[in-house]
Amino acid sequence: MDLSAFFVELANVWPRLLQGSIATVTVSFQAIAYGSVFGSLLGLMIFYGRMPARICGWIYLDFIRGTPVLVLMLASFYIVPLAGLGLSATGAGILALSAFCSAHVAEVFRGGLAAVPPGQAEAAKSVGLTFPKILFYVLLPQVLRQALPAWINAAVEIVKASSLLAVISVPELLLTTQQIVSRNFMNAEFYLVCGLIYFAINLTLSKFGKLVEKRLAF
């Protein structure tokens, strides 16, 4: 390995790596945001909904969890446009990742609700609170507290899975790295750099999670 040649090359391409990293973070962030909102609603539906709604929820969950993310990605890239919806490659990627994320979050959320002792909702009912208020003031704070570590895990999974956007030609971190090494042939060096960047993003995410966890502790 020629170190000085590597550093010269790194000095040349770092703006592209940065751009790729930003794309990865942006796409992941959007997928996590959409996936979390939809997943939470889905979790509520599965926990409190009537039987038909629950069954639909479970079918969706099983389908998403049983399908490789890569397949979700290709499906959303090739199939969604057939339905007449104009969707960019990035849009298709975010859609697939959001679906993947929502399944994780729904499961985490449902588990969190199930873990709150039934006496909590009863005590809240007993002082006359209506269901939305019970959910908001009594249950959600406890679910959030207990589901946070699993939610951060899901977020980390999304960041990793975002590398699959490379196959539908979205220039995120992995595709950018592939383009760089196809020109300079420094495969080992730049895949290592790429790996380190993913690691740094996810480390930041889990550190942030730990911080929030401490804040929410009671």
């Binding site: 006496g119 005590a123 009912k125 007993s126 002082v127 006359g128 609170l129 009594v138 406890q142 009671f218």
Partner: protein, 255 residues
């Protein structure tokens, strides 16, 4: 005087299993009624029906004259909408065996939640009411503590303050000392005695026979979902009419 609580023909089943099989009960303002009876006789279920934490399939419950939970429309019995039921629930206060304090809120936060979100009080007003009741149960020193920082007896006293701060017509206590270490039982019983002396109308399920004897104006003995015997505590404990009550009292070593 009008009744605070008026139950007639109450029936409740869990699926095919009928656990309350026609209970009638009336309570006047300021009355303290204790329910005793063996495990599984339906004591908790009765309190939960009164607090509308359970559906019931037959009979009426009136609190201060108001029919709760259900109405009759076109000769059919229909459940009231959830919003109405939430209001009905606030007519009674309940203290649970397991306290059920909200772990993410301080003692003060636990008491103010219902005042603010059900009664719609402004923050200052809710805090003032909550502080008054926390003081009353001897917990004002620890109003900013979280439940995890309190002993069982302290938690239970906060839970009682939370229920009673809502100014309910009737307080329900379900074995509130059963989950406590023996040395913490009295601090909670003293609070209940104090509220009784103050004229609070209370219905309590207890295994503390001595306490039931001393605090109650009436004692009810439940067996298999019905009231098997009821009356003055002295009569009940010293001259039980039924063999079952005599056996029950014998087992719980009341002399």
């Amino acid at each position: 005087m009008n009744s605070i609580l008026e139950i007639s023909g109450l029936r409740k089943s869990y699926g095919p299993l009928e656990v309350i099989k026609g209970v009638d009960l009336a309570m006047k303002p300021g009355e303290v009624v204790s329910i005793i009876g063996s495990s599984g006789s339906g004591k908790t279920t009765l309190l939960r029906c009164i607090n509308l934490l359970e559906e019931f399939q037959g009979g009426d419950i009136r609190i201060d004259g108001q029919l709760i939970g259900y109405k009759t429309s076109n000769g059919k019995r229909v459940a009231l909408p959830e919003r109405e039921r939430a209001k009905n629930r606030a007519l009674t206060g309940m203290a649970f065996q397991q306290f059920n304090l909200f772990p993410h809120m301080t003692a003060l936060g636990n008491v103010t939640l219902g005042l603010r979100k059900t009664r719609g009080m402004a923050k200052d007003e809710a805090v003032a009411v909550a502080e008054k009741w926390l003081e009353r149960v001897g917990m004002s020193q620890r109003k900013n503590h979280y439940p995890i920082q309190l002993s069982g007896g302290q938690q239970q006293r906060v839970a009682i303050a939370r229920a009673i701060a809502m100014n309910p017509k009737l307080m329900l206590f379900d074995e509130v000392t059963s989950a406590l270490d023996p040395e913490l039982v009295n601090e909670v019983l003293n609070v209940i005695q104090d509220l009784a002396n103050d004229g609070m109308t209370m219905l309590l399920v207890t295994h503390e026979m001595r306490f039931a004897y001393q605090v109650s104006s009436k004692v009810i003995f439940m067996e298999h979902g019905v009231i098997a015997e009821e009356g003055d505590p002295k009569e009940m404990f010293h001259n039980p009419k039924s063999q079952r009550l005599a056996e029950f009292l014998g087992k719980s070593k009341f002399q």
